[in-house]
C-alpha cells in the first residue's frame, strides 16, 4: 500500500521532463495528421513572410540578379515615402476600397439579402443565384464581358443600346470613367459574399421575433430598421472587416481590366507590377517587396483585431478523447 501511495504521489507531481516527454508523445500522434498542413503553412506562409520582409530591405532586381544584390535596409521604404506616385496610389486605394465596400460588398449585399428575403422564395433564390454567377465565372471571361460593355459603338453594349439611341456621342467608356468600371467589376463579384452571409443570418432570425414585430404593427421597413438590422449587426461587422482586407489586397480584376492605366493603380497592384509583371521586364523585387510588406503588416494587424472581435475562444472545444 505504501508503495502504491508513493507511486501515486509520483504520478501527481510529474516532473517537468516527464511532462515534456508525455507532451512530445501525444504530439507525435497528432503529427501524422498535422504534418502536411504544417509543412505547407511553413513553406508558403512563414518563409514567404520572413522572405518578403528580408527582400524589402535589399536592392534586388533584374538588374542586380540573384547574386549581386546588397542590403539597403530601409532605403526602399524611404523611396516609397518620396515616390511621386505614392500619394496618388494611396488615395486610389482608399477610394477603391471605401467605395466598393460601401456600394457593393456591404451595401448592395445587404440590399439584395433584404429584398430577396421579402419576395417569393423561388424568385429570391433565382436572383441570388444570378448574383453568384460573377464569382463563379473565370475572371478573364468576366472582365472581358465588362470591357465589351464599355466598348465604343457599334460594339459596346452601353454605347450601342443606350447612348446611340439617345443621340449622345459614343466613345470607349473605360478610359473616361475608369473608376466606375473598376468598382462595378469588383463590386458585382464582391457583393455575393455578404449576400450569402446576410441572407443566412436573416433567415436564421427566430421566427417569433419577426412575427412579434408584425403583430405589434411595424411596417416592413420599420421591422428591417428596428428588428432585422440590429440582429444581424454581428455578420455585418464580420463582412465589413473581412471584405476590407480582401479588397485591400485584391488586384486581379484591375490587372485584367486596366492594368492600372487611366489612373487606377492601387497599392497591391503596384507591388505586383513592380516585382513580377511589367512591360519592361525590369523586376524590382526589393521595391515591390517593400510595397507588399506594408500590406502584409496591415493584414497582420487587421487579422489579429478580427480574431479578438470574433471571440476565438468560444469557437473551440476541448477534445473529449485523451488517448491516441
Amino acid at each position: 500500500m505504501a508503495v502504491i501511495e508513493a507511486e501515486r504521489v509520483a504520478v501527481e507531481a510529474r516532473p517537468w521532463w516527464r511532462r515534456a516527454w508525455e507532451n512530445l508523445r501525444s504530439a507525435s500522434g497528432a503529427l501524422l495528421f498535422m504534418s502536411p498542413a504544417t509543412l505547407l503553412v511553413v513553406v508558403f506562409f512563414f518563409i514567404p513572410v520572413v522572405l518578403i520582409i528580408g527582400i524589402s530591405m535589399t536592392n534586388m532586381s533584374t538588374a542586380t540578379g540573384f547574386q549581386n544584390w546588397k542590403w539597403v535596409y530601409l532605403e526602399n521604404y524611404r523611396r516609397i515615402l518620396k515616390h511621386p506616385n505614392t500619394l496618388q496610389v494611396l488615395r486610389n486605394t482608399l477610394m477603391y476600397v471605401a467605395l466598393t465596400l460601401a456600394f457593393f460588398n456591404v451595401g448592395m449585399a445587404l440590399v439584395i439579402a433584404l429584398i430577396t428575403t421579402h419576395i417569393p422564395r423561388r424568385a429570391g433564390l433565382l436572383y441570388r443565384a444570378l448574383w453568384l454567377l460573377p464569382r463563379l465565372t473565370p475572371s478573364v471571361v468576366y472582365v472581358m464581358m465588362w470591357k465589351y460593355m464599355a466598348a465604343d459603338a457599334p460594339y459596346g453594349i452601353i454605347n450601342r443600346h443606350i447612348l446611340q439611341p439617345l443621340g449622345l456621342a459614343t466613345t470607349n467608356l473605360l478610359p473616361i470613367y475608369p473608376w466606375v468600371f473598376v468598382i462595378l467589376v469588383n463590386g458585382f463579384i464582391g457583393a455575393s459574399f455578404g449576400m450569402v452571409i446576410f441572407t443566412s443570418a436573416i433567415e436564421s432570425i427566430p421566427r417569433e421575433y419577426l412575427m412579434a414585430a408584425l403583430v405589434d404593427g411595424c411596417t416592413p421597413w420599420q421591422r428591417i430598421r428596428h428588428v432585422i438590422l440590429p440582429l444581424i449587426r454581428w455578420p455585418l461587422l464580420f463582412v465589413t472587416t473581412y471584405q476590407t482586407l480582401s479588397l485591400l489586397t485584391s488586384f486581379e480584376q484591375i490587372l485584367l481590366l486596366t492594368e492600372g492605366q487611366f489612373g487606377t493603380m492601387v497599392w497591391s497592384l503596384w507591388a505586383y507590377e513592380r516585382a513580377l509583371s511589367n512591360y519592361w521586364g525590369n523586376f524590382q523585387w526589393g521595391f515591390g517587396a517593400a510595397l507588399a510588406t506594408v500590406l502584409v503588416l496591415i493584414g497582420i494587424v487587421m487579422a489579429v483585431v478580427y480574431m479578438r472581435y470574433f471571440q476565438f475562444e468560444a469557437l473551440i472545444q476541448e477534445p473529449k478523447i485523451e488517448t491516441l
Partner: protein
C-alpha cells in the same frame, strides 16, 4: 476479470470529476455505478475504457496496471446511452466491425454475427442502417456489437435512459439474463436507483466524484451509511425529520414539537443523548392504523398524488412535519382527512446532522 480502482482521480482544471475513488470489483460481478447526473459516473467508465487518462491513481485489470494501455488493447466492450452506432454501416457491418479490426476470418465473422444477432433478436435487421431502426433495436445492436468480441469486461453508460418506459423494463430483464448467462464482469452506470437495485450484485453510490457507499442492494436499503445514500436509494424517497431522542420510562422517544414517537430501543439507544439528530422513515414502513389498532401518530392529509397502484400521501403531523406514505386508492383519502398512522419503528434510521453519517451503521 477483476477490476480494481485505486485512488482514481480525474480533474479538468479546477473541476474534480472523480475524487479518490477506490473500488474492488470481483470477477463475474455485476456492479452498478449509481449517482445523480454530473457526479462523475461517465468519467469513471471512460477512464476504465481507456478513453480518458486518470489524473492520478490506478486502474488494475486482474492485478495488472492498465493506465497506459490503449482502449483497443483492454478487451472491454461498451454500450452507450446514445447507442453510438456507425450511421454509415449496416447492422451487420456494425456488428462485425470489431472482428474486422481483429482480422478475424470472414467465415468466422459471419458465424459470430449470426449467433449474436440471434441472441439479441435482430437477425432480420442485418441489412438495415441504424437510422432505419427503433431505439430498442438500436440498443440491441449496440449491445451485440459490445458482446461480439467476447470482452472480459462490459461497460454500460445509462444504456436504457433513451428508451420508453416499457421497453426499458424488457431490456433491463434482457441485460440481466445475458450477463448471468455469459458471466462477464460488468459495470453499469445509471442515475436510476430502481435500475441499479434490480440489476446489480453490488451498487457503488457516487456523489460529486466521491464514493458514498459500495454494497449490495439489500444492504444499501436496510443499512444506509450516509444520509445521501438513504435519501437516494428507495422510491419514493425516505422521510427525514429532525428529532431529539430521549429516554423516558425505559422507552426511547423521538421527540420534536410536532410529535412523540416511541422507537425501537435497539436503534433509539444509539441516537439518544446526542441532541438533534435526523430520523429517517421509509414511506413503505408507514401504514394506516386499522380500527381498534393503536396509532403511533395522528396526521392530516395534506396532498394526494395518485400513482396508479397506490396513492402517495403527504400527511402533516402537528404544525410542520410532513411524512410521505403509500395508501390503497380504494380508501379514497381526501385532503383534510384525519389519519392514524403506524410506523415500523424497528426500521427507522438515525443520522448525525453535521457529518450526515448514520448513527446506526458504520
Amino acid at each position: 476479470m477483476e477490476v480494481h480502482l485505486e485512488h482514481l482521480t480525474k480533474r479538468w482544471g479546477k473541476v474534480v470529476a472523480v475524487d479518490d475513488l477506490n473500488l474492488e470489483i470481483r470477477s463475474g460481478e455485476f456492479v452498478a455505478l449509481l449517482g445523480p447526473s454530473g457526479c462523475g459516473k461517465t468519467t469513471t467508465l471512460l477512464m476504465i475504457a481507456g478513453i480518458y487518462k486518470p489524473t492520478s491513481g490506478y486502474i488494475r485489470f486482474d492485478g495488472r496496471v492498465v493506465n497506459k494501455v490503449p482502449p483497443k488493447d483492454r478487451n472491454v466492450g461498451m454500450v452507450f446511452q446514445s447507442y453510438a452506432l456507425y450511421p454509415h454501416m449496416t447492422v451487420y457491418e456494425n456488428l462485425t466491425f470489431p472482428l474486422k479490426l481483429k482480422k478475424v476470418p470472414e467465415e468466422e465473422q459471419r458465424r459470430k454475427a449470426r449467433r449474436i444477432a440471434e441472441m439479441m433478436g435482430i437477425g432480420h435487421l442485418l441489412d438495415r442502417y441504424p437510422a432505419q431502426l427503433s431505439g430498442g433495436q438500436q440498443q440491441r445492436v449496440a449491445l451485440g456489437r459490445a458482446l461480439i468480441k467476447e470482452p472480459a469486461l462490459l461497460l454500460f453508460d445509462e444504456p436504457l435512459s433513451n428508451l420508453d418506459a416499457r421497453l426499458r423494463l424488457t431490456m433491463r430483464a434482457e441485460i440481466k439474463r445475458l450477463q448471468m448467462e455469459l458471466g462477464i464482469t460488468s459495470i453499469y452506470v445509471t442515475h436510476d436507483q430502481v435500475e441499479a437495485m434490480t440489476l446489480a450484485d453490488r451498487i457503488a453510490v457516487m456523489r460529486e466524484g466521491r464514493l458514498q457507499a459500495f454494497a449490495t442492494p439489500e444492504e444499501l436499503y436496510e443499512r444506509p451509511r450516509t444520509l445521501f445514500v438513504a435519501g437516494f436509494i428507495g422510491n419514493p424517497p425516505m422521510n427525514f425529520t429532525q428529532v431529539e431522542v430521549i429516554q423516558q420510562d425505559g422507552q426511547y422517544l423521538a421527540v420534536n414539537p410536532d410529535m412523540r414517537l416511541a422507537v425501537d430501543p435497539d436503534r433509539g439507544s444509539r441516537a439518544a443523548g446526542r441532541g438533534r439528530v435526523i430520523m429517517g422513515i421509509r414511506p413503505e414502513h408507514i401504514t394506516l392504523a386499522r380500527d381498534g389498532e393503536p396509532a403511533h401518530l395522528e396526521a392530516e392529509v395534506y396532498l394526494v398524488e395518485p400513482l396508479g397502484r397506490d396513492d402517495l400521501i403527504n400527511a402533516r403531523v402537528g404544525k410542520e412535519t410532513h411524512l410521505h406514505f403509500l395508501a390503497d386508492p380504494a380508501l379514497k383519502l381526501r385532503i383534510g382527512d384525519r389519519v392514524r398512522l403506524r410506523v415500523d419503528t424497528s426500521r427507522v434510521q438515525f443520522f448525525d446532522p453535521e457529518t450526515e453519517q448514520s448513527l446506526l451503521w458504520s
